[in-house]
Every structure is written in C-alpha cells, then in structure tokens.
Symmetry: C2
Subunit: 141 residues, 2 copies
DNA sequence: TTGCGTGCAAAGGTTTTGCATGGCA
DNA sequence: TGCCATGCAAAACCTTTGCACGCAA
C-alpha cells in the first residue's frame, strides 16, 4: 500500500493511445473487436500495430474506460467504451435478513446488453433487484 | 415443424460419448474446459481425441445437457453439466404495460453462478425480476 | 452393410511475447 | 536523456476442418 502520488509516473500520452480511445468513444454503445479497431485505422491510412491495439484496449479496460466482452458466437473479444465509471449497479436483497447489498460488476453490465440485444428488453438496472440469501444468513443455517 | 418422430435416427451411442457425459456429470457444478476433459481421459489411460471431445461437448450443449461458458480470464470455453433442462428461468416485467415475460437463457444461469462465486450471494432465480421496458412499449414512444 | 463417430494432422483465428526502434516527458 | 510505447515477427493457444478408418445399429 502507498503509491498514490498525485500523478501516475510512467504513463505517456501517445498518438495511438489517443486515437484508439477517440475511436472507441465514437462508437458509443457498439461492441468492437481488436481486429475491427486495427482495421479502422488501416482504412484511414493510419495503421496501428495489432500488438498496440491489444495493449491499449486492455489498458482502457483496466482503467475502467472500456468493458471487455467475450460473446459466445464470435471467438474474438469485444470492447465497448464506457462513459460513467460508476455504471450498472444492481441491488441484491437478502430474503432472510432483508439487507440490501450493492452489486457493481462488469458481468452484470454485459447482462443488460445481452437482454437488450437478444431478448429485446431494455433493463432498468436501478430498479432491478436480485433476491436471494446473503452469505451471513446462509452460514447461520 | 414436422420431424418429431419417436426415435431420432442417425444417433449412435459410443464409448467416448458415454464416457464424456459420465465424466461431466461427475463434475457437477464444476466448470471444465475441453482441454481438461481430454486431460482426464489421458490421465486414466483412455485417451479421447481432442476433436471428439469438442464435438461431443458441443452436442451436449445443443441437447441442453450442458451449458457452455466463456469466462473472461481464461480464453478457453468451459462446459458444465446441467441436470434439469428447465433451469434458471427469470422474469422480465415491463414497467410500462406491466406484462411479464419469461427469460430462459444460458447467460443468466452463468450470472447466478457468478454472483454466488464472486459476490457470495445465492440468487433465487424464481423470485428475481428484471424491470425495464419491453420492445412493444419502446416502439410506441 | 450403412453411415455416423472417431482421431490424426493440418489449417484458421485470436492473443501474447521477444526484441529493437521510436517518441513522450 | 530515461524509459515507456510501438510494431514487426514469431510463438502460443484454442477451435475447426479434411479425410480415412472404426464401430454401432
């Protein structure tokens, strides 16, 4: 613990990094693969190496600026720009003790997208509640 | 419509098919990859070809006897035996028209597992309801 | 006997790694 | 000037396909 200095050392701003972020954010809502990103920059005659695309996208995911999906059909991973870092937050309500927990998780964001894409239903993440039994109450039985 | 004859012709029972099903069912609840299945049969000196393992697992998924997951971390797909064909069925309730839809989907089963494994919360799939807006009501706006 | 199932080898596709070069701070 | 970022080439993986042979029905 203890490396939270004001500015992160060792993080550079590069043309490629900015370009990839800009492109991803311009695709808001769309899922794009690493190959598609690379292809885009090829198309506009500003090619970016495959390796860089992958590394950049992973970094964006790590920073919470993008989400990574792996859809069953296509074997390639998809990336999606995400605006608000604090998105997709569901509630878990314990049916035993009544306590409500917050659930912040990338997978759940994926679920909302999936239900929209595949089942044509726009989920209201803030109203939706998962019912079940929390860890504490399970232990007491 | 119209090919529901009493017995499916052209489906054979084989040593490998039975063995893979038996192994998967013996792992109840665990997620195993195709490689792990193959490795298991190697370990007991009854090797089964990679190709066969993949084809067999896909067939089980198609028949609803197994579920296929693709977890982010490992790039390999995971398979899980499933006992009751009619599992994990959630409800979608439209906040506009009030209609309730049924949602039967492998991804949602994965979600329940994920919430249990990672967030220590045992979801009650039958009580949990997704709120949102259905396709019809969205079209009318 | 028929034709589905199997398994080897090889191909296809995605992602990662090694290493020299380039560019931001 | 130091050091991270880039990008090529090649490797590492997972999965699929082609094809000849084996085996259930």
């Amino acid at each position: 613990m203890g490396d939270a200095m004001g500015k992160r050392p060792g993080v550079y701003t590069t043309r490629q990094g900015e370009a990839i972020l800009a492109f991803l954010s311009s695709c808001q809502g769309a899922h794009v693969t690493a190959a598609q990103v690379a292809e885009h920059f090829n198309d506009i005659s500003e090619p970016i190496g495959r390796t860089t695309v992958y590394r950049r996208l992973e970094k964006l995911v790590a920073e919470g600026m993008a989400r990574k999906y792996i859809i069953d059909e296509s074997k390639a991973a998809c990336y999606q720009y995400v605006d608000e870092p604090q998105q997709g937050h569901y509630h878990l309500k314990c049916e035993v003790c009544g306590e409500v927990f917050h659930l912040c998780c990338n997978l759940l964001d994926e679920v909302a997208d999936h239900i929209y894409d595949e089942h044509d239903f726009k989920v209201n993440e803030f109203k939706t509640v998962f019912y079940g039994v929390c860890a504490d109450c399970r232990e007491q039985n």
